[in-house]
Symmetry: C2
Subunit: 428 residues, 2 copies
């Protein structure tokens, strides 16, 4: 039986999960797959740190070179995250003839073209099932299961932290700030939560899905990205009264001219399957021309779900090594669609204005909207007996993004407007 | 570029879908995978029948031998369904050194051990993604994505026809009979719907999932199978009042002693993701020790979704042929768990008695239940001003199946009982 030797770089939450899984399941995986996966080296920052799982002392090293230039190592697993030094580690591992498995969504989103370009040239595998959706086998499903489909639409709840916060706000009436604090207390949000609540993590993952579904390399800065920090409890309430939930969606949508790629809070009907995805769960809705609508749901993060995906890649790559062939086809941006300009998208909008309660305000606002070709579907203004500014909530018919942006720029300059207007796109 | 030659046996709904997909997408698949998939022979009953898709005249044949013994054919796609002659066709195709792709769940459920046994011996592939869940990539996900997981639980809504009927009953208050007629009118149910509404189709699919998840070969007659024909509108209403939906579930559950395999109508909380799977959709809920809870949702039948899965198998097998290795590992019943005896399972139960409305009836029934160690959680008896028999609806605490069966046998003999008692298991 062929022993496949693995070098791990990074021994944090996911790394510890991978070690634990291979410690406990090496024998059963050997029985079911005929492959013997052995971790021979783990590169860590501090050798003496306490670890949640047991490893032989001589496996640990603080020298990356002892992984990259160890000739016995077949597969390098990169789990340190971030762009550098992760990028140089992966590129050098490939140059050294090693296959790579990674969970690094930021790196693949930013430098996927280079990394996949090199791996293809050298005929080596890059496994990245763990980079999107934690334990959900979405990469495999898009690459293999749906291979015969033209993908028309992907909606993803790809960030567990944001989904947890929005779920808390929606189920318990919690304010954003408190929901974030609670998420941090539970370990669901980092001290600096900006990547998660700012939508950047979702955009990284969307970039990877867009490569598989639409054949386009899109770095995060080419994806319109808006987080959930402006969403207030009242927005969730108004949305709910109108039959909608608010979710942070990563959206990839095929259009004639190319593909729309965007991440933003979105009103979706409560009857949509995604509306009922709560807690830290992830879900990805995929529409293909043959399969129609599909949904994948599961834990999008965490040590063991992510390790499950890393090990599934290790098995695929190892099977290829054992058979003497390139283990998996790396994605090609063959059908490369262009990314559409955000200002050209069309959408319905939920808009909440904060205004001084005096005659003529509504007519002023709706006049400006009308001048920009935006027609109003519903308006809600509740009687509030106070001197404070009051909210006016509108749902528009379909309008052009650039028109809405222009109208709001003018409206937000009016002296009757007391805070920045909140505008959330709607998907039906 | 290697041309992979395919022989199709059966040209019905799914066969026509496969031909259509390969007609339209052969070039784009060639570009994305480097594989050229060509259908060189289609075996049909009547050559002169009208077809919904175009094929070259000389591709059609009515002789199976012209597929099985054509040396140029690499892969045989079996799409005629049923046990014979499908079984002999597949076995002979393997003996002739051909790989096989099939959507035949009944055959794999009944004769999987033989077919997979032969394919393993001969080191040939049998692809069967299309046999469960139509276009949903559930086979691939269980075999590869979750390879490192111990699967603890599978709940499947695996039969679109039954799900459509139950959804109609629940959403529109339709009676079973009318919902079935409507399903037949829409082409969702066959003239003889017994395989679908009787749960047999679900049991076939569960057998395949059980092989992948639990390593057990279980023919349909070793799976407890109960259909939806006894469910009345009132059961759906009572369930709903208690916060439950009724779904036809195929259940595989790991226990210490083995694996529970059963198909029956089931009360599940309305908040469960499966409760909101409507229409003809399928969904499969999988719990693994690493990934936790996952859900896969999509179209479980139909020409194009099923063809999508057949073609995904064709690509995998063809890639293996091109690389010169066995394309995919056929499942091994290596960890072979035993199938648990149905009488040993424990469950909560929903029970509807139809009784004569006179004093002492409730006490008689509850006495018999108590004697069988069944304790009652809730009772509903509504006042009905008529001479007709009245329903008493109970939800039990967890009880043993054999105790419930014994109690109902005695209760149904009572002269105050006017129809066979309806008993539906509950999963939380």
């Amino acid at each position: 039986m062929k022993k496949i030797k693995i070098g791990l770089i990074g021994f944090g939450t996911v790394g510890a999960g991978v070690v634990k899984v291979l410690n406990e399941k090496r024998a059963s995986l050997k029985a079911s797959t005929g492959l013997d996966l052995e971790i021979v080296r783990i590169c860590v920052k501090h050798i003496s740190s306490k670890r949640p799982v047991e490893v032989a002392k001589d496996v640990l090293t603080s020298s990356i070179d002892e992984v990259l230039y160890d000739k016995q190592i077949d597969i390098v697993v990169e789990l340190i995250g971030g762009i550098q030094p992760a990028k140089e580690i992966i590129m050098e591992a490939l140059r050294q003839g090693k296959h790579v498995v990674t969970a690094n969504k930021a790196l693949l989103a930013e430098c996927g073209a280079e990394i996949f370009g090199l791996s293809q040239k050298l005929r080596l595998a890059v496994g990245f099932e763990a980079s999107v959706g934690g334990g959900i086998p979405i990469i495999r499903s898009l690459r293999e299961g749906f291979i015969a489909n033209k993908i028309d639409l992907i909606y993803g709840i790809l960030n567990g932290t944001s989904n947890f916060i929005l779920s808390e706000m929606s189920e318990h009436g919690t304010q954003f700030k408190d929901a974030l604090l609670y998420a941090q207390k539970l370990g669901y949000a980092e001290k600096d939560p900006s990547f998660d609540v700012g939508g950047i993590d979702s955009a990284h993952k969307l970039s990877i899905l867009a490569l598989l579904g639409f054949g386009v390399f899109a770095a995060q800065d080419s994806i319109y990205t808006e987080g959930i920090t402006d969403i207030e409890q009242s927005d969730i309430d108004y949305a709910s009264e109108n039959g909608y939930a608010i979710k942070l969606l990563a959206i990839a949508k095929r259009r004639k001219e190319g593909v729309e790629l965007r991440v933003h809070p979105t009103l979706i009907p409560k009857t949509h399957l995604l509306a009922n995805v709560g807690d830290v769960y992830n879900a990805i809705f995929v529409r293909g021309d043959l399969v129609g609508d599909n949904l994948f749901y599961g834990k999008g993060a965490g040590s063991l779900p992510t390790a499950s995906s890393v090990v599934s890649d290790l098995v695929s790559v190892a099977a290829g090594i054992a058979a003497g062939v390139i283990p998996c086809i790396t994605p090609v941006a063959g059908t490369a669609s262009a990314v559409c300009d955000m200002s050209d998208i069309r959408s319905r909008y939920y808009v909440r204005f904060t205004v001084v309660d005096k005659p003529g305000v509504l007519s002023k606002i709706s006049g400006i909207l009308g001048n920009h070709d935006i027609s109003i579907a519903t308006v809600t203004q509740k009687e509030i007996k106070s001197e404070k500014p009051v909210p006016i909530v509108m749902m528009s018919h379909e309008a052009r993004e650039s028109d809405m942006a222009a109208a709001l720029r003018i409206i937000d300059e009016l002296d009757v407007i007391k805070s920045k207007t909140v505008c959330v796109r709607v998907e039906e």
